[in-house]
């Protein structure tokens, strides 16, 4: 059975990730920055799943990568089980890596085509010296394959011999091999067929119940996020604009962006679809190189008023429901 404890396994505070843009061949000059993540704080508890949703380009994958030190954030701290990993280098960084792993979106690109399934799953085990000898290694790999629903008879096969769903299972086994506390899942099902998505979502849920691992589940599909998450964070242009428990967020969305996002998702039910009032946003996401002033969402918001384009909204807390929202509608 799933159990979420109070223990915080991952704590990120005030993460900023700005990618500089340079111009000029000889005299390279910094002319601007893509502000992918702007001041995000998040705490992930043991055994918990936080769903991170937003449109493409909102910085959700960048944030995920900052948390597992695939990017070095411009500023901010990341702690995994109370060890500050922000400035670690070399051997000491590598030693902490077994606590946090990542599953990527595209299982066609994330597995080395020249390695067998055995090599892929055994690699992290060898790096972190998790097994005493070869026979233990073999047994661990085959146990992992069973846990993710693959036949251990496939250990000598190569990734191209598997379908997308099976490849994602290999990627999950590899991430799980070092018994991590946190797994960042970056769109793990969006490249898969509908009937396979449900299999992978259920597998992730079952593994969480078994190993008490925490997930940061990054997705643009709100329905999948609703199914798997305990808490949900909605991101827009590098900021978390709303953060609440799953039930609270879906029952009582506050931010106009969250509301629009929810009303945009088609529901597989013709009667519901026919009677639905859609909130249609105008336009596309503004460029993260040149963020709008004030609230970043004011250019597309349907409840915009004067203050929005001038002042950036502060975070508003609703203490009884632990609901956080960044919007002037709820400020004083």
């Amino acid at each position: 059975m799933k159990h979420v404890s109070e223990e915080v396994v991952l704590n990120a505070s005030n993460i900023n990730m700005h990618f500089p843009i340079y111009k000029g061949l000889v005299f390279r000059k910094k002319v601007g920055a893509v502000k992918a993540v702007n001041g995000v704080s998040i705490d992930l508890r043991r055994g918990e799943t936080i769903g991170l949703v937003g449109e493409s380009g909102c910085g959700k994958s960048t944030l995920g990568r900052c948390l597992v030190r695939l990017y070095e954030p411009t500023s901010g701290r990341v702690e995994v089980s109370h060890i500050d990993i922000t400035d670690l280098q070399g051997e000491s960084l590598r030693n902490t890596r077994k606590d946090y792993q990542m599953i990527f979106q595209d299982p066609y690109a994330s597995l080395n085509p020249r390695m067998t399934v055995f090599d892929i799953i055994a690699e992290p085990l060898k790096t972190h010296r998790m097994c005493q000898n070869n026979s233990e290694l073999k047994k661990t790999v085959s146990d992992l394959m069973v846990q993710v629903g693959l036949s251990p008879g496939y250990v000598r096969k190569y990734p191209h011999e598997f379908s997308g769903g099976q490849r994602q299972r290999i990627a999950i086994a590899r991430a799980l091999a070092v018994k991590p506390k946190v797994i960042v899942c970056d769109e793990p099902v969006s490249a898969l067929d509908v009937s396979i998505q449900a299999q992978i979502l259920n597998l992730l849920k079952d593994l969480q119940a078994e190993f008490n691992v925490s997930y940061l589940f990054i997705a643009h599909d709100l329905a999948a996020v609703r199914y798997i998450s305990d808490r949900v964070a909605v991101m827009y242009l590098g900021k978390i604009v709303e953060f609440a428990s799953r039930d609270e967020l879906f029952k009582n969305p506050k931010h106009p962006y969250t509301k629009a996002l929810m009303s945009s998702i088609p529901v597989a039910d013709p009667r519901v679809e026919r009677s639905r009032e859609r909130i249609l946003l105008t336009g596309d996401l503004p460029s993260p190189m040149n963020l709008p002033t004030g609230c970043a969402f004011h250019t597309r918001c349907n409840e915009v008023f004067e203050k929005c384009s001038k002042v950036e909204p502060e975070q508003v807390q609703f203490p009884d429901t632990n609901h956080q929202v960044n919007c002037h509608l709820y400020g004083k």
Partner: protein, 326 residues
Amino acid sequence: MSEALLQVKDLKTYFYTRAGVVKAVDGISFDLMPGKTLGIVGESGSGKSVTMMSLLGLIPQPPGKIVGGTAFFDGVDLLTLSEKEKRLIRGKRISMIFQDPMTSLNPYLKVATQLTEVLFEHERITSKEARKRAIEALEQVGIPEAANRIDHYPHQFSGGMRQRVMIAMALIAKPQILIADEPTTALDVTVQAQILELLKSLQKDLGMSLIIITHDLGVVAGISDEVLVMYAGKLVERGSADDIFYRTHHPYTQGLLKSIPRIDNDASELYSIPGLPPDPSKLPAGCPFEPRCSVSKDVCAQVGAVPVQSISANHESVCYRPEGGA
């Protein structure tokens, strides 16, 4: 009931590869009524796109070959037309928009050139007149400052705007049928909602028929009158949107509907169809869904065509299971 605009019967498109014959489309039939929307649902590899490309003569031959069937559009069989005759229909009377607006526009040409190309191909028209029509088309799909934007290159448009350009291009010659192949899959949800609303309102204004191919049952529910469910190149179930969603008969359709998480309820356990879609070059001898089916019987694995059951006037299911049976 009025006459069908497009009547496809028993369409079969096979690909002859070194690994064997791939029956990408194997006996698909459907009718498209004027002004109506047909949704075609299926997973990747189920033959949805190949069906449409066969109708428009876009299948590379070899390795592909249309081995059987008819497709009557306004009294002529599309499958027997010469290349020259097909060119008179493609883009003019039947248009298609593709999934990825990033790759289906030519990056070297201005949008104006790409939009007017269709007009020069099909109509005797001056360039001034063509340009005017192109600007109108862009305005129709909701592109602001169309008169300016028309001289931009595709990379200067965002994803949603590019898909609007694609739609404008498809509609400029006022086709009777618009085929949209996963028109919103590459787009964000908020932009997807915009594009779907646009397609619906354009359809109403222009009175054209729409075929929308998608794997997203939510998209289908919102837009379709009729729905066709495909699996491994074969028809699985066909009926009105209500038939498919509320009076579902085929176990595959049922499984698919149960396996999608929904935004409007919290299921604690999601059903998942076991197994994988079959390898198209090694299909099972009987019903293609039999190995994954939860209610399969001995008869389902037997060699031979699965009977088409008529559930109601316009609702068919290709399954051995008796009507309404468990």
